[in-house]
Symmetry: C2
Subunit: 215 residues, 2 copies
Amino acid sequence: MQIAEQAKTGAAAAGLTERQGAVLERALGLLVEGGERALTTAGVARAANCSKESLYKWFGDRDGLISAMITYQAGKVRTVEVDARALTVDSLRKHLVAFAGDLIDVLSGDVSLALNRLAIGQASREGAGLGRLLQERGRRQIGKRAAALLEAGRKAKLLAFDTADEAYGTLYGLVVSDMHLRMLLGEDASALKKEFSPRAEKAVDAFLTLHGAKG
Amino acid sequence: MQIAEQAKTGAAAAGLTERQGAVLERALGLLVEGGERALTTAGVARAANCSKESLYKWFGDRDGLISAMITYQAGKVRTVEVDARALTVDSLRKHLVAFAGDLIDVLSGDVSLALNRLAIGQASREGAGLGRLLQERGRRQIGKRAAALLEAGRKAKLLAFDTADEAYGTLYGLVVSDMHLRMLLGEDASALKKEFSPRAEKAVDAFLTLHGAKG
DNA sequence: TATTTTGCGTACCGTACGGTACGGTTCGCA
DNA sequence: TGCGAACCGTACCGTACGGTACGCAAAATA
């Protein structure tokens, strides 16, 4: 039910058949479960109850399949719009803390980790195609949300910074530190999440100390 | 000449023959050049002018070779001891800026990026063996240097923090942000280094704002 | 109902890799 | 000089993957 719904939305966002979305969902499951080695065309076909010929017809080749997986997964992410009116110190802090929590959630997600591992592994041999795609479709989205929030804070005279990008970089670093890399290297994601989630408020405090207009 | 000397020191640190060190050096070159796909046993043997049989004799199997490469590479890193006496605000700042620059240098190095990509790619399929090894031999080393510096700053009443680990995490996040991940995903390392190096001083300023005893 | 389309299942091909075996050669040593 | 260890180069084997081709069933269309 939930999976089917996800498949629907993700497929709709990428302009694909519902069936094709279901196939991509199975492929993502395979990737999460067994890494890149498990993402074979035969394996995907078997897991999704379709033929290899259909895979090549729909996605071109293996790289096309992977690209479709990234785009499809990115289509599932929905950024929450922030109401910029009536922003107070407390509400800004709450929004920042919520954003930090969502950021940690996204980065520690199984599918996100698997796709990042896949793109990083591919990055060395053939340009940065998948890496750029992942960056574009994934990070840009949540980055826009952060930029909007930060700009709203600045307009409300609650934040002070030169550029939103730089301030976002600071916030990102304070929240994430090296958590993402450690998870990518195989450290237990849920354990690391438990370690970093409580630090989200401290990170936001530090960010406000650095960029809060009151301080 | 330089390579030979590196091979000597790296091999000595890992308890290997000079010849074996040279082989690992060629293997690292192959990995940097062409990624994991280029790191085949036949390719290493050809590039290093040795036989596959010797490779298996020395390193066991392909994973043993990779582990040896990580340990060998880590053996080349030498941490600089910091003189903790007579630490002033200015000298502490200089030390922190120097540390930040070295951190960026290490993370943006060709070999470091290639090994991290390899370990991340391997992380999904078989535990976190290589990831742990890389973390242990690589990050721990520079982390110890940071911890020593931070503790010295605290003893000199120039820094205030709860635990050195947490403070190091803050410093790391401020300096690195998402630079490492972006490089791992294939963004041009030298360009990113140029972008982040000037920010090292700002990052240290921010860190001192957060943890400086004077502020 | 006849026909076209779609797609599943399977078999197949070429290639490339990890790992092993073997003949020939160099080098240290008695 | 004779011997053994180490090692290079190459050939070989089993496996697994990406990609293609084919036979056949089911659904859609006329």
